[in-house]
Symmetry: C2
Subunit: 257 residues, 2 copies
C-alpha cells in the first residue's frame, strides 16, 4: 500500500460480517485505502474495554470487496490496538472510523458504546477518529442513504483534521429525508427498568440486561435527542479529557481539609 | 436495613474476593450500611462495558464481615445495574464506590477502567459516586494506610454531595507518607508497545495486550501524573457530559456544508 490515497482504518462493535461495516467501506474505497479490523462477532456495549487477561487471535478475511479485512477475537478497542501494532506497521492511518453501528449512540450511550470506544482509542493515539451510528436497529437495514453525509464528514475531517483529544460522535436518524446536520451537545437521559429476571428450568434465577431510555431533558432543543427526533444528522465533538474544570476550581478547598 | 446510617453500594473490577474491596468495606462499616455487588472474578479494563447479550447470575457470598455481599458473573457496570434493580429494591444507596483498585486509574486510564465504569454508572443514575485506586499493583498489598483519606473523602461527599453529572476519580500514590491531597485534572499520556505477539505450540500467532505508559506532558505540574509522582492523593472530578463545547461552537459552520 504505497498509494497516495489516505489510509482509513475501520472497526465496529457488530462484527466484521455486519451490514454496517460493509456499507461504510463501500462509501470510501473510491478515494481511500481501507483496512478493516473488527470483532469476530457482536461486541455491543463494550465501551472502551480491552482484553487485560485473555489472549487474542487475528484472522485474515475476504468478505468485503476492495479492502483488507481482519477479524479479531477481542473487543473493538483491541481491534484498533492490534491493527495499529500488527497490521499497519509501515503506514499510520490518516483516519480511524467506527461503525456504521446498528443502533444510535447519542446521549449517555456515548459511554457504553463500543463504536465510540473505537473513536476514543483512535483519539488517544492522536489520530482523527469518528464513530458513525444509525438509529435504525435492524441489522439488515439498507444504510446506503447515509452515503452523502458520511463522505462529506469523512472528507472534511481528512482535510481539516480534528483538535487534539476530540473525536466525533455522528448519529443518523431513521428518516426518509434528513432535515440537515446539527453540531450539538449530548443530551441527558437515563436507562430505566434495565433488568429482566427469569427463572431457569433448573430452578435458579438469571438476568438479562434490557432497559427503557428516558429523555431527562424533554424540553431541550439544543441536544442530540432533540435533533435526532427532528430528522437531523447529529455531530457531537467528544473529549478525552473528562476533567470538569469548573468543579475542579470549586473543589480546590478540599486541599486544606 | 432500616438503620439511619447512610447506605453505600460498593463494586470493583478485581472481583468480590479481592483485597482492595475488603479493605474498602472495613473503612466504612462503623458509620455506614454497606452492600457489595462485585464481579465473580477479575474484570480489569472493562470500562463502562455491560452485558448486552449474555445472561447474568447473582450469588450471595459471605466472605466480607459486617456487610451483605453478592457476586455477579458480569462486568462492573452490570454489578451496579443489577444491585440497583434487584438487591437495593427498597432503599436507594446514598453513595456508590468502586475499588479500591489494585493499580491506578489516572490519566487516560480513566477511560479503560472498570473502577471508573462503576463511578460513571452511579453518576448516570444521579447517585454520588467515587472510584478509589492505588498505584500499588500488588493484589496482596496492605492498603490499610489509605483509611484516613478514604474516610475523609467519603464523609465529605456524603455531607456535601457532588454536582450532577460529576463523579470523582481518586488515586493514591504508593508512598510511605502522603504529601497531601491535590484536586487536579487528568494528565495526557499514551500507552505504547501494547501488543506482545507469541507463537502457539500448534504454529499460529496469538497476542497479549500489554503496554508501556508514556507521560505526554512531562513538564506539567498541574495534573494527576505530577501529583502522584510527588506523593499526593489525587482527586479528579470527571464528567459524564463529554461534549467539547469550545469545539462545538467552532464546528457550527459545518451546519451549512
Amino acid at each position: 500500500m504505497n498509494s497516495k490515497k489516505p489510509l482509513i482504518l475501520i472497526s465496529n462493535d457488530d462484527g466484521y460480517q455486519s451490514n454496517g461495516i460493509r456499507t461504510l467501506v463501500s462509501f470510501l474505497t473510491d478515494f481511500a485505502d481501507v483496512v478493516v479490523c473488527a470483532p469476530e462477532a457482536g461486541r455491543s456495549g463494550f465501551s472502551c474495554a480491552f482484553s487485560v487477561v485473555d489472549y487474542l487471535l487475528l484472522k485474515k478475511r475476504h468478505n468485503i470487496p476492495d479492502c483488507e479485512v481482519w477479524s479479531c477475537t477481542g473487543t473493538p478497542v483491541d481491534c484498533v490496538k492490534l491493527a495499529l501494532d500488527q497490521i499497519l506497521v509501515d503506514r499510520k492511518p490518516d483516519l480511524i472510523l467506527g461503525g456504521i453501528n446498528h443502533g444510535d449512540n447519542s446521549s449517555v450511550n456515548n459511554h457504553y458504546s463500543g463504536t465510540m470506544g473505537i473513536a476514543y482509542e483512535g483519539c488517544m493515539k492522536y489520530i482523527p477518529s469518528i464513530a458513525f451510528s444509525s438509529c435504525d436497529y435492524d441489522p439488515n437495514a439498507d444504510l446506503s442513504y447515509l452515503r452523502d453525509y458520511v463522505r462529506l464528514i469523512v472528507k472534511k475531517v481528512l482535510t481539516d483534521s480534528l483538535p487534539k483529544g476530540v473525536c466525533l460522535n455522528v448519529n443518523f436518524p431513521k428518516v426518509e429525508k434528513f432535515a440537515g446536520l446539527k453540531v450539538c451537545r449530548m443530551g441527558w437521559g437515563s436507562w430505566t427498568r434495565e433488568v429482566e429476571a427469569c427463572k431457569h428450568p433448573r430452578g435458579f434465577d438469571y438476568y438479562w440486561m434490557t432497559g427503557h431510555y428516558r429523555n431527562d431533558e424533554p424540553d431541550a432543543t439544543d441536544n442530540d435527542q432533540w435533533a435526532l427526533a427532528h430528522g437531523y444528522v447529529t455531530v457531537t465533538p467528544s473529549k478525552i479529557d473528562v476533567t470538569d474544570y469548573e468543579v475542579l476550581d470549586k473543589m480546590k478547598t478540599w486541599e486544606s481539609l
